[in-house]
Amino acid sequence: MTEHDLRVSLSGVELDNPVIPASGTFGFGQEFTPYYDINCLGSLSFKGTTAEARFGNPTPRIAECPAGMLNSVGLQNPGVRHVIAGELPALRKIFRKPIIANISGFSVQDYVEAAALLSREEQVAILEINISCPNVRHGGMAFGTSPEAAAEITRAVKKVATRPVYMKLSPNVTDIVAIARACEEAGADGLSLINTLLGMRIDLKRRRPVLANTMGGYSGPGIFPIALRMVWQVTGAVSIPVIGMGGITTAADVIEMMMAGASAVQVGAANLINPTACREIIDALPAEMDRLGIRRLRDIQRVS
């Protein structure tokens, strides 16, 4: 058995391995500790927070799909101040590694406020700015669908942030490369992609949409090829690191996403159907690397 090197780096933040639970699928870690010691994770992107508390959308918020699911949670969270006062101290007790703070907003000021507050948190290593939530009006995705708006948020957050800023991009756009370039030019330190794809289901018996909010974000293995393609396109066009996500379920998916250009990956929906998904992926990586003749994971990044 050869020595396996799973370490990766994101803007100078060293991770033991590239596997990071994606925001919104892992809460603040507490729900997973009955299942495993989450310190095996590379990092953790916590449930997206906003300047003010939000309940989110009415239920049903969840729908079954082929190879995945829809959600229309709508950024339910207790607000950034409560996150800092309650959730982060509790997280610190169960997780010793650097964390990624996921931030959403409804105005430039919202993003700036939350970014400034979370920059002061010692455990927060990266700010992940969600400009791609498909489930809220007048915000979220609205900022992520135009290069100008994406650049404006990037610049505003960069002014107050004392941590690397990663912009989380939406796939629900004509040209994700143009948005990615705009973020890079505006000073983003990295990118996270992709968020969920806007989708919908109809309840045939009731003859109305399954989701109370009509539409929701599609995630799960069904979106993996789309995510992979977008990571490929974006990493071919920018020189900042990209965290790849979208349907990753196996160690082989992690390697494929890194071969597409990702510096690290996030695992989302898989956590919801299997609470030990991330641990199983991390445990399976060495054998998968052996099978493919890989010694250092970071060496495979971006095949030609």
Binding site: G27, K47, E64, A67, V73, I273, P275
Partner: protein, 239 residues
């Protein structure tokens, strides 16, 4: 965990009983489990009807793709189950004469609850509501446990005619535990003045509190039906 399906039997035209063998971790009546099914992405939440350390009884109505797959599984199959989930009913919060009110497929968790209450020395009374006589299930099981049982049907084809709420006046009880359709729970809440526990149903993603897919507003703030419930005190709910 992988459990072995040892029984899959129809109880009515659309209600089925599963018995699963293997350690399940269930500690309280009213907890639920999440079942992974081949070809479906999300697990399906099913309430625990009754349990021992090494057996789990689930009674479910076939309503959609998930429960249809469940009804078609044959004994001997290994089933991927996430268990136990949710808080369940608190037998300690019941008086010595609790009313257990169940409507249709809300009935199953009240069987395990009834057994736990009898064991504790309480004298629970079960009010079980159905549409027609042909829909009756678990009534014999309840009676054979020693549960005093009142059957109510909407058309009077079995037991008393009416709804579960119609028999409240002639029953004496000091606490209430209920599971069933939301209109039934609301009617019970507005009619009853004793300490109450209600088991709620909501479409779920993960079932263990991570996704916020099943959140409700309560008088005590937002709660997740899966992880903070599915059982809530009546006074905490925002009716």
């Amino acid at each position: 965990m992988l459990l072995t399906l040892t029984e899959c039997a129809p109880l009515t035209a659309d209600v089925h009983r599963w018995t699963l063998a293997g350690p399940n971790g269930v500690t309280r009546p009213g907890q639920f489990v999440q079942i992974a099914l081949p070809g479906l992405y999300l697990r399906r939440p099913i309430s625990v009807c009754d349990w021992t350390e090494n057996t789990l009884t689930l009674v479910f109505r076939q309503v959609g793709a998930g429960t249809a797959k469940m009804a078609a599984l044959r004994p001997g199959e290994q089933v991927d189950v996430l268990s136990p989930l949710g808080n369940g009913f608190d037998p300690e919060a019941c008086g010595c004469r609790p009313l257990l009110a169940g409507g249709g497929v809300g009935l199953p968790p009240l069987i395990g609850l009834g057994r736990a209450l009898l064991k504790k020395g309480c004298q629970p009374i079960l009010a079980a509501g159905f549409r027609h006589a042909a829909d009756l299930f678990l009534v014999d099981e309840a009676r054979s446990l020693g549960l005093e049982t009142v059957v109510v049907t909407e058309d009077g084809s079995a037991g008393e005619k009416g709804l579960v709420t119609d028999v409240l006046d002639r029953l004496s009880f000091d606490s209430l535990c209920a599971c069933g359709p939301l209109p039934m729970l609301k009617a019970l809440h507005h009619r009853v003045r004793v300490p109450s526990q209600f088991s709620l149903e909501e479409r779920m993603g993960c079932g263990f509190g991570a996704c916020m897919g099943c959140s409700i507003q309560t008088k005590e703030g937002p709660k997740r039906v899966c992880a903070d419930g599915p059982v809530f005190r009546g006074e905490a709910l925002d009716w």
